[in-house]
Symmetry: D3
Subunit: 136 residues, 6 copies
């Protein structure tokens, strides 16, 4: 059973700016899932302390989403990728805005915004894995 769960993660890995050449959109997705979980848990809990803690954690996790996406955009994707996927810049800009203040997950409890963020990350991940396959 384990191998089924982990077959994919054999290829997953963390980014570093050596660069180690290993990237994975799962890192941004992980944090975005946590942002969404903070929102949903607050719906079922009217303790003001709990909501205050969730707000701070949601802020931090949204920041991590932005960071992981920025790293992919700058460090993984190269000029040929941007030529092949003309909407890539916009996708990253919209996704990181969705994890920020203003209308983003930092400033709202609306789960729909977290879902939009997750959908953008999936769009980016789809392109990411396509480029990995093309390079294989």
């Amino acid at each position: 059973m384990f191998s089924r769960f982990f077959a994919p993660t054999v290829e997953v890995s963390a980014h570093c700016d050596l660069p180690c050449g290993i990237y994975d959109p799962a890192q941004a997705k992980l944090e975005a899932e946590s942002v969404k979980a903070c929102m949903t848990k607050v719906m079922d809990n009217d303790d003001p302390d709990f909501k205050a803690r969730a707000r701070t954690i949601k802020e931090e996790r949204s920041d991590l989403v932005k960071h992981h996406l920025w790293v992919l955009w700058t460090d993984y994707f190269k000029p040929p990728h941007f030529e092949k996927y003309p909407n890539l810049n916009q996708l990253f800009n919209e996704a990181t805005k969705l994890a920020g203040g203003g209308g983003g997950t930092k400033a709202t409890w609306d789960v729909a915004v977290a879902d939009q963020l997750l959908a953008k990350i999936d769009e980016i991940a789809a392109i990411f894995w396509e480029t990995k396959k093309a390079a294989a």
Copy 2:
């Protein structure tokens, strides 16, 4: 193809100490893969600047491995888990030691140590996913 890659990550998610109740050993694994990549890349590169940067990054990434494992050990696993898996404490202690100084990945370029660390993380992940299934 994409869905096949991401089917598992539907369940993956980041930890927060709300707790949001979502954890994934992939975070520790991601960083451990990066540690290993720093080691292997240095084998093929005798630039002293490159090696110096790899050393620092390997140190930081090893620290992240320790952090993510500590979070699982303290925040995810509960007394019944430790009863059911008597070696769980030792597994975590050994895995975090393998990512530290002394004989760990911070203090060596030996890829075998990174592989031992990855193997320990897989052992922990196997137990983790078993408990998730049992709870489902």
Copy 3:
């Protein structure tokens, strides 16, 4: 008895993962005292801004307690220690849980929880100084 255990802190020192070989449970205790102080000060101050700031600081300080304890557990204590003190793993796991969310100091204003955390740290410190004396 406590002061006896702290006589050794004349050799106080910080941990680093060189490892520099110097550790001290006082670091975790320092942060736990601050967590308790945040709780007690809020009792005497009904300014919502003050309470909100105390909540955030209590969260950060609780995190530091966990970090300092994890470092001791992984980096200072060795297999022979765990053999000699069979409850050591449990002590660390319970202490770090007491500094976390859920029932821990991050999620409550109950000073009794901070006192339980401080008591666990004292138990760990007692074992720590015993091992230092045994090694001297």
Copy 4:
């Protein structure tokens, strides 16, 4: 004399993701100047310890350049800006790459690369101040 120096900074200010609505490319420029200073100082100093410290600091400062630029790109610039300045995405992507590993300031001692980075930041700053004037 002082007022002449600080007239501009009356408008400068730090970013926060409230958002507080205040941004300034000077933050990225400040760090890029530090990166360049690390490079030039090493030219005149053959102490290996000094060079090792400069390498680490150059790495950290380059990271800060990337961070400050990413914040501007995501949080300050809006869709109409990207329409009016079609090269804006590319400018930010190239500037942040110039502050990274691979061919960027993290991986080289070549002052020319720091100068290219500074020039890109000035290009971005020119557009930034144009948009601020247009909005005034």
Copy 5:
């Protein structure tokens, strides 16, 4: 127009403890402006979530003000400066207190406190630029 804005920043730059020998009070001022912006924006916004986020951000930005001022005080200013400007120590101590808890910007929404902090930073900056001119 741009060159007029950026003429001064030709000399501005970030601190590092190499030391790279480059300092600028603008960094502290940038963060203090952000602290003030958090206060003023809250006046026009009675959303409790917005105020809670502003409180946390104001706390972080105030911390950055303290950090940048401490760096100037320790790393840039030398004994002859303290002899020439006998009130320099007091200026830094008062400015950093104004960015702290108690009566400082962390603990209040009173814009007058942020203005006092900004005025202190300007006093420090005036002395800073005088010493730079004297050294030129």
Copy 6:
């Protein structure tokens, strides 16, 4: 004499900027001991990797010394203290310089510099505990 000053550390506690009102020079001392340990361990170990890691850790620990001292200087000591101890500003400025670059512990392997730093911290601690006793 030192042990007399550390008797109070039975009430050891960490600083936070609530302020929680609890401070202890032991935090700075802990990090300074670690800085010294990095230096002494390098004397007995000519492995270049070990020395490189020690250099980075020594840099980080020296930074922590500066931070903990700055906190005491700004947050604990009040105007009456500076009147009563006219050399207090200079003590803190010299101590933090000793933990910095240039002639400080970041830039040297000379244990004598770490000892000078430790001695300054003891001078500060002596004054600190006197003021605590006076306030008791």
